[in-house]
């Protein structure tokens, strides 16, 4: 079984593993999720209808308003939070969002995570060391 390693830096510490949910674009906060279930309700988003609970979210950056952070914190309170964030381009929402969601988050990786990781891959995030370990879905089948 082959694993791929990406190296970057910590945004917020901790480690977690889970199935990847990958977007080729940005991720919103306000109006993106049903905060009681973790289901993506934004019809504009490529994850529409999917659930983020327990997933490693891989996306380019955060989009939308200041309510990004409260939406992601609310999913922690509701028990439907994702497992970790792997963000290609860190911005204020992802930095503060991972702090208040209290989730591991890494950025500035040596390769574009939205290209290297596919939805369904198993991903381990060791944020303190800035390491993302990917086991391809094809290897899992």
């Amino acid at each position: 079984m082959s694993t791929v390693i990406l190296r970057g830096r910590k945004v917020h510490g901790g480690s977690a593993a889970g199935e990847a949910l990958v977007a080729r674009g940005p991720l919103g906060g306000y109006g993106t999720f049903d905060l009681e279930t973790g289901k993506v309700v934004d019809r504009n988003h490529e994850w529409y209808g999917q659930n983020v609970k327990g997933k490693v979210l891989v996306f380019t950056t955060a989009s939308g308003s200041s309510a990004w952070t409260i939406a992601h914190q609310a999913m922690r309170f509701a028990g439907v939070a994702p497992a970790a964030y792997v963000v290609r381009d860190n911005n204020p929402q992802t930095a503060l969002g991972s702090v208040v969601a209290r989730l591991p988050c890494v950025t500035d990786l040596d390769r574009d995570p939205t290209e290297e990781i596919e939805t369904g891959d198993q991903v381990k995030v060791d944020a303190d060391r800035g390491i993302v370990e990917i086991t391809k879905r094809s290897d899992l089948l």
């Binding site: 308003s65 200041s66 911005n91 702090v99």
Partner: protein
Amino acid sequence: MLALKPDEQEMQAGREGKAVQKAMELLVRYAEGLGAEGFVDTRNVTVIPGSIPDVKLVREVVPSMDIDEIASRFLLDSDERVVVDKVKAFTTTNATWRDQDYPDVQKGSQAHCDLLQMLADYCKRIGMIHLATCTPYQVGNVPVRGEHLAWTESSAIAYSNSVIGARTNIEGVHSAFASAITGKTPNWGMHLDENRFGTVLVDVAADMSELREWALLGYYVASQVGLDLPIYRNIDSLPDMTRLMALCAAGISGGSVVMHHLVGITPEAPTFEAASGGRKPKYELPFGEAERQIAYDRLNRSKKDDVDIVALGCPHCTLETLRRIAELLEGRTISSNTKLYLTTNSMIKEMGRIQGFNQVIERAGGVIMKDSCCLELSLDPADVFATDSGKLAHYAPGATGLSNTWFGTLEECIDAALTGKWRGSLS
């Protein structure tokens, strides 16, 4: 590496009390996440506690509904209940509150309205001004060029950076609250000269005289540039405040454009060279007929033309737009099948009353809501929705569950309110 100045270390050590300590600790974690090297003083903050989750979740987390505990958990991310004395920075509240006069038409109904009233009273208690608007620069919080802000929301961020030349990142609910308490914000991103230069050149080939075009321009470019800052060149007509608000709102809801330059118009872009810092753009984008159409099609996703809801005033309605709406509705009555909602802040609504605009709009059947946001309306997902705001058209499907949304000009929206039919098109 993040370095703290002596006053910041004092706050972190708790010498100014527990609330200040929790606020500083949060800002330190946030600044480390950003990769900031230090903090900058700020005397101008806008906070957005009105975006707190529904009262149902708040009650689960804080069964006592004690407001200091609610603020500690939801606004400061502190597991420990802290009592804030007074904020250090001049602080005004941003949008997504409730108009207490219309509890039943907004999400969460009376119970959520009551929570937000409690939160508004809390904000006033700790020394904030309850402006309750997404356009603070219209009504009493007008930054100056170069001022370091910790502002929230979305369009107001782009407006203060781009149009005013003030400096702010897009702060979150929690970081802005902590900045209000400490008077500090990470010295990162838009606070630093080198990050304010435009990196993408957009050649504008469309006729930009109409308001609608500014939303289309912002929405299209936002979908293309990620975190890069656009420089708009060749704009053929000088925009007013309403047009710039539309550009800012579409650019940050459809993407993440926290600042843009309009060559010859905005303060940090007297020339292309000044806007780009003398560097070559990373890439160029066209904006002409094809791009206009792409943005228009993305914002118009309705298959039904019987309009149930017309929503105006996003960002919060300007005096000029309020005057224009009253002019279009004078002596007329909106369709019995259609509801017209308009949102603004309390100061502009009061001015509308003094001028007689509100009376004209209300006689025609329209509802003018203060403090609130059309995305906070409680709507039936089957409703057909029409708006003149790119931002509302973008957010409505997620925030309100609607699948039929129309975007067009103010005149097309008023026509839809009067006739109950959508007859708009991209001419």
